[in-house]
Every structure is written in C-alpha cells, then in structure tokens.
C-alpha cells in the first residue's frame, strides 16, 4: 500500500509540474520556467504585463540607463542599468521598437547590487526601457538609442 501512496504522490507532483509549465502559476514561483509568452509578446505593456503581472509603471529618476546615444551597429548595443531604489527584486530590459520588446530579465538576490550590464540587439532607432521591480512596485526609465545600421541581421 505504501508503494501506492508514493506513486500517487509522484503523480500529483507531475501534474503540478505540467501546470507550472503551462504558465498557470506565476513566474516568480517557477524560476526555472522560461517566460515564453513575455518574450513573444508584442508591445512593451503586453510584455511587462506578461512577465511581471502588471503594466502600471511609475517613471523614476532613480534609475539610470547607460547606453550609446548613437549605435553604429544595432546588433551589439551596450546597456548598463543601475538604480538607487532599494529592495530590487528584478531588472528587465526592453527595446520599445523591437518586434519582441523584451530582451532580458534579471532576478537579483538580496546580496546583489541593483546593477546589470549586458549587450542587446536594437532593430531600429528606439527607446530602451528598464523596468525595475522594487518592493512589489514597478518603476521604469527610458533612453533613446539611434541606430544607423539595422540590428536584426545578427
């Protein structure tokens, strides 16, 4: 009988796993699952809503984005985001005019400073938006990057 219960237990765990994969649970709870819908979403609002569960962004001057004002090669654009906001849970970087605006999202531990630097592709002249989740609220800032050559070619 014990073996039965064990089997049943593992079966229900399997069901929970499938539910998680289908996106029924919030992405915060399922760290390992890649938020496919958020990355495929069109438009900044849709992407942020899908990723972080809300699209109400508060503009904040405490977020600083370092990006080149003119990018000669849109395939490689250096972006550094840092913020003075406290208790930062995640930093997401979006490029407004890319077909799929969400480029990346970083979930930070408490020992990690709210700083992220990476390189993204920018298809055409667009605003680069950083969304910072701090204390359960979403803050954002944007910065324009001019692209002189197309960036999606790779």
């Amino acid at each position: 009988m014990k073996r039965r219960t064990l089997l049943k237990g593992s079966l229900s765990a399997g069901v929970a796993g499938v539910a998680a994969a289908a996106g029924l649970l919030t992405p915060q709870l399922v760290m390992a699952a890649w938020p496919k819908a958020a990355f495929e979403a069109k438009g900044v609002d849709n992407a942020v809503n899908s990723l972080l569960g809300s699209s109400s962004l508060t503009a904040s001057s405490d977020i600083s984005i370092k990006a080149p004002p003119i990018a000669e090669n849109g395939a490689v654009v250096n972006i550094a985001v840092s913020t003075k906001l406290k208790n930062v849970a995640s930093i997401s970087i979006l490029v407004e005019k890319n077909a799929q605006p969400l480029t990346s999202s970083f979930n930070l531990a408490s020992v990690t400073e709210p700083f992220v630097k990476t390189r993204v592709k920018v298809a055409k002249t667009s605003s680069v938006i950083a969304v910072v989740k701090s204390g359960g609220k979403l803050y954002s800032a944007g910065r324009e990057v001019k692209v002189t050559i197309g960036g999606c070619g790779g």
């Binding site: 490689v76 799929q100 969400l102 990346s104 930070l108 531990a109 992220v116 630097k117 390189r119 993204v120």
Partner: protein
C-alpha cells in the same frame, strides 16, 4: 560544444564585480542563410544563473534579442577572496554549459 569562457570576478571594497563573456550564436530565428534562402533556426540562451558558493546571486531569463556572444556584468556583496562563482546557462535547444571562477583581489 567547445565553448570559450572569459569570466572574471574581482573583489574591491567589499563588492565583487563579475564580468562574463560567453560564446554563443544567439540566433533569433529570423535571419536567412544567404546561400540557401532558408531561415536559420533560433538558437539562444534562455536561462542563466550566477551562483556564489552555491547560493543564487542572479537568475536571468534571456530572449533572442541579447547580442551574439553575450556579455554580462553584475555586482554582489558578501564574497571573499578564493570563493567560487559559477555561471551556468541553458538554451532553447536543450544545451547547457557552466564555468566556475575564483574571486580574485586585484594587486
């Protein structure tokens, strides 16, 4: 898959700065092969984790809009010289790789 990793973790004033350069094509799935006219299938890193002595420091979800051969830099507190920092990733084709470096103090 032969991967070159260029990773450095330097400790200065209590803060460890991690800089990592990963070799990965990061194909969007939209680019066409000029010779065959066929689309190059998407191939990009989806999940990336940074661990300090086995503790999660940063967990990132990436899309195809991260540039080829991705660069990443983050900063975190609480590390000492000689601690291990491990970066690992897996991509949409199910491949994964990881690399571990020791925290160094610049002389």
């Amino acid at each position: 898959m032969a991967n070159d990793w260029k990773v450095r973790a330097t400790l200065k004033g209590g803060t460890t700065t991690l800089k990592a350069l990963i070799t990965h094509p990061m194909e969007t799935g939209l680019r066409k092969n000029k010779k065959t006219g066929k689309k190059v299938p998407a191939h990009f890193i989806q999940n990336l984790t940074v661990e300090h002595n086995g503790k999660n420091v940063c967990q990132a979800d990436w899309g195809p809009a991260i540039s080829a051969n991705p660069y990443l830099s983050i900063k975190f507190k609480g590390a000492a010289e000689g601690d291990s920092v491990k970066i690992s990733w897996n991509d949409n084709k199910g491949k994964s790789d990881s690399h571990t470096v020791k925290v160094a103090v610049p002389k």
